[in-house]
């Protein structure tokens, strides 16, 4: 005889703290949808979707067969060259993700205070130039002093570049969006001049001299692998920003000012001080993105050095919901996509721009999550929208 088991009572509990899975659900589906639509575009353009995404995968993660082969060779002969070659794509993705993490943290920190830092690109340039200058001009220092000094130089340079619009906003009410954009142009033209003049290495190309070996971020493997301590530093900074925002009184102020400046003032917080501080810190983080790129990867700065990291950072901060850990995940995604795209272009003949389309789609879906909820019939979970920026003059 079968026993009938009464169905368990369903209790609806209103929960505020969303689980990790709930938080990641929409962004993950946004990425998936972006890839699907990207695939359709590839198919329309007449190429093979499987070839294209296959190349994207091996270009960003490496080829599994090569990886197994590399391990086999290492164990049978002790020769690690094959394995190193196999992990090259994966490490390159992490290398690409590194400046994304720093710059994404910069924009996210600004958002948390209700500030829109469009100036990460300019701060990135200034940080890179400062680090390069400290890196090549000072000679004979041990690494334990020279490297931190070069990083500090970059962070300070970026901080100053961010602080200026912060101060202008605090003092005169000038909107940071306008001023950070203007600071970008100043940074671009300033770097043009520096690279063609005072900071130019001997030779024809407008580039700086190479930084001293003592100022380089050490690499984990021999050439050609460029994977270096910059990535670790980026992860550490993500944790520091998280700790700062959520575990300190200073971060509490920053978040209060961002969420409700009137209430922050009521509670005795100094709004102006927070604007200046956050813009300086955000500038410092973007500056470190430049530093990590110079000291860890390129070792010199040339024209067109940034490739838009500072602008992509805005998308990253949105994708990561202005949370430091979200930014890290978003930066890794962008790193893998960007890095894999190169292979996709060379091996499958798909233009690298398709990645920009996919990134663009992902951003659209993140900005308008209802599209994703509607597509996948997800019930919306009511949460407070993060305030990104406020209107003019506030």
């Amino acid at each position: 005889m079968s026993e009938t088991v009464p169905p368990p009572k369903k209790v609806e509990i209103q929960k505020n703290n969303l689980s990790f899975g709930q938080v990641l659900l929409v962004p993950s589906l946004a990425v998936l949808t972006g890839l699907i639509i990207g695939g359709i575009v590839i198919a329309i353009s007449g190429a093979s979707v499987i070839d294209a995404y296959g190349a994207l995968f091996t270009g960003s993660f490496g080829s599994p067969t090569e990886l197994i082969e590399g391990i086999r060779v290492l164990f049978s002969t002790g020769d690690h060259t094959v394995l190193v070659k196999a992990i090259y794509p994966f490490t390159e993705s992490l290398v690409t993700a590194t400046p994304y993490i720093f710059a994404g943290l910069s924009v996210a920190l600004g958002f948390r205070c209700g500030l829109f830092n469009i100036g990460a690109e300019g701060q990135f340039f200034i940080g890179a130039l400062c680090s390069a200058y400290v890196g090549y001009s000072i000679k004979g220092l041990p690494m334990i002093i020279h490297l931190p000094l070069a990083l500090l130089g970059g962070a300070l340079g970026g901080a100053v570049w961010g602080m200026i619009p912060g101060y202008l906003k605090a003092r005169f009410g000038a909107h940071e969006v306008v001023n950070t954009i203007m600071m970008n142009w100043i940074a671009f033209r300033l770097s043009d001049w520096l690279l063609n003049g005072p900071m130019k290495a001997s030779g024809f190309r407008p580039v700086t001299p190479n930084v001293q070996a003592s100022a380089e971020l050490p690499r984990f493997f021999a050439d050609p692998l460029r994977f270096n301590w910059g990535f670790v530093l980026a992860l550490v900074m993500a944790y520091v920003v998280y700790w700062f925002l959520f575990k300190t009184t200073l971060g509490f102020e920053v978040r209060s000012v961002g969420a409700n400046p009137d209430a922050a003032k009521y509670a005795g917080m100094n709004i102006i001080k927070n604007f200046v501080m956050v813009m300086a810190l955000a500038g410092g983080l973007a500056g470190l993105a430049g530093s990590a790129q110079v000291l860890g990867v390129d070792h010199w700065v040339g024209q067109g050095f940034s490739a838009g990291y500072g602008f992509d950072a805005i998308a990253l901060a949105l994708l990561g919901k202005s949370h430091p850990f979200g930014v890290v995940l978003a930066a890794l995604l962008f790193g893998f996509l960007r890095s894999g795209a190169t292979d996709m272009q060379s091996m499958a003949g798909i233009p690298i721009d398709i990645i920009s389309i996919i990134q663009g789609l992902v951003i659209v879906f993140i900005a308008a999550p209802d599209i994703i909820r509607w597509l996948y019939r997800i019930r919306s979970i009511k949460t407070e929208e993060t305030v990104l920026t406020r209107g003019w003059g506030k």
Binding site: L250, F252, S256, N260, K265, Y266
Partner: protein, 510 residues
């Protein structure tokens, strides 16, 4: 007499909440039906169903005896139902005529807006119903009471004959309330029918032909206004006996807590708002500041709490100057502030309750050691205050924005009362709250007074001023008209002062 509108067995469920549970109400033609209930009782949900903003899970809507299917506001308007929302839906930088025609713009030659036609129609409506307003004036220049008229005209312009007014008196001054009631009377005289949503007891008895009380999503009962008393209505609304009079002993005022001398303050647009105000508050007494809203009370409070700079004059708390110091300095000297706009100043709605409970003291022991926040202390503080002040919330981790207005106010009261205070400034402390919460917050304010704090209560509700104050200052156009002993004044006297008239002057003139 026929029922122009009937709702039968309306049920609406939201996840986890039964907002309307088998509600049936009927509106007689040419009458005013008052829908009375506390905040969160389900009144607004019911009206949103009627207006097509929500779909009911069960139930029928009958207009003039015929069942109708209302899918959206357009259907409601087509059935002659119009709604005046609590928060006005007006564009401030547009004129009255432009606002009225929004959505139903008449055109000349199919392209050009025919503003003259709208203006004429508005004048017709104005004359017919006694709703005087100039179609060419800009909304931003009009007082709140007139803005509400524009909302009513909007509804009439769309030819509604069933009007729903959601908390229409919440934003009005006593004089404007009287004006509104006159308008409502004219409207029914001309054959309109009105549903009037409110939680204010006295005006219901004054204005309504029928009263239906809703509690927790259910109809508790209907009552004839002639038989109703405030106590009866309050009991029906809250479900228990409510003490409408604040129990308080005579004040034991001691030495002076706050001295304000010749204070001048400008508002946020740099217009003079407070013009030469002087008064004193002693420890252990409540000074009520009465006045029609917008006569400088807000700016006075902002200046006292450091949110606005002062032009000239002095503010002294226990003989220490407070003027032109920072809000933080003022907080630390023991000034607690229940702000007029709780969602703008009082709370960060997107932050959990536990963070709001330490919003002003986050940098101090035990909430912080150095710059490191001490979560354990923050949580236990919130748990304790939620219990002590009876904040109704599932837990302390939900965002303040999810709480009802009354519970949000309790969070502010709990936070402000949990630190040592010398002076309490409570600005509109019970605006928009239900009877139960008002009773509670009034008790707490008197408790602080009896513990020896100086208290300033600013309110545009005369009943509240009279219930709480030991002395009453009346503000008019940035100045204090008079300061009176609360035991010796009556409403009429205060009303005249609020209108800027010294009663002695009128008596000499007569």
């Amino acid at each position: 007499m026929t029922n122009v509108l009937e709702l039968r067995g309306i049920t609406k469920r939201f996840p986890g909440v039964l907002a309307n549970d088998n509600i049936s109400i009927s509106l007689r033609e040419g009458k005013i039906l008052a829908l009375l209930g506390e905040n969160g009782a389900g009144k607004t949900t019911l009206m949103n169903i009627l207006y097509g903003l929500y779909k009911p899970d069960e139930g029928q809507i009958l207009v003039r005896g015929k069942e109708v299917n209302i899918q959206d506001p357009n259907d409601a308007i087509a059935n002659g139902i119009g709604m005046v929302h609590q928060h006005f839906m007006l564009v401030p930088v547009m004129t009255v005529a432009e606002n009225v025609m929004l959505g139903v713009e008449p055109t000349k030659n199919g392209v050009f807006l025919d503003k003259a036609k709208v203006a004429n129609r508005i004048r017709e409506i104005s004359n017919q119903y006694g709703l005087e307003v100039d179609p060419a004036s800009y909304i931003k220049d009009l007082p709140v009471g007139i803005q509400q008229r524009v909302e009513i005209i909007k509804v009439l312009y769309r030819q509604a004959d069933i009007l729903i007014l959601d908390e229409p008196t919440a934003v009005l001054t006593p004089q404007e309330v009287d004006g509104l009631f006159k308008i409502l009377q004219t409207l029914i005289d001309k054959g309109k029918s009105i549903i009037f949503i409110t939680h204010k007891l006295k005006e219901v008895m004054h204005a309504a032909d029928d009263i239906t009380v809703i509690r927790l999503g259910k109809v508790v009962g209907s009552i004839d206004p002639k038989e109703a008393t405030p106590e009866k209505l309050a009991t029906m609304m809250v479900g228990r006996d409510v003490n409408l009079v604040v129990d308080k002993k005579p004040a034991k005022a001691s030495e002076s807590a706050l001295v304000v001398n010749q204070l001048y303050v400008r508002d946020e647009r740099q217009n003079p708002a407070v013009q030469g105000v002087s008064f004193e508050v002693r420890k252990g007494e409540v000074l009520g500041i009465a006045g029609v809203q917008g006569n400088g009370q807000t700016e006075l409070v902002y200046a006292l709490t450091g949110l606005l700079p002062i032009d000239s004059g002095t503010i002294q708390l226990l003989n220490e100057p407070l003027h032109n110091t920072s809000p933080r300095h003022i907080l630390e000297r023991g000034v607690a502030h229940i702000p007029e706009d709780r969602q703008r100043h009082g709370l960060i709605l997107s932050f959990p309750i536990h963070d709001n409970m330490m919003l002003c003291t986050y940098y101090k022991n035990p909430f912080a050691k150095g710059i490191s926040l001490q979560e354990k202390s923050i949580f236990s503080n919130a748990e304790e205050l939620v219990k002590q002040y009876d904040v109704r919330t599932p837990n302390i981790y939900v965002n303040a924005g999810t709480l009802s207005g009354g519970n949000q106010q309790k969070v502010i009261v709990a936070r402000e009362f949990s630190r040592p205070i010398e002076l309490l400034i409570a600005s509109q402390p019970t605006r928009g709250l239900d009877v139960g919460s008002i009773e509670y917050i009034h008790k707490q304010i008197i408790k602080k007074r009896d513990e020896g704090a100086g208290v300033i209560v600013v309110s545009s509700e005369l009943d509240e001023i009279l219930a709480l104050s030991d002395r009453i200052a009346v503000m008019y156009k940035g100045q204090i008209m008079d300061i009176l002993e609360a035991s010796k004044v009556n409403k009429e006297h205060l009303g005249l002062l609020m209108a800027g008239i010294h009663p002695s002057e009128t008596s000499t003139k007569n």
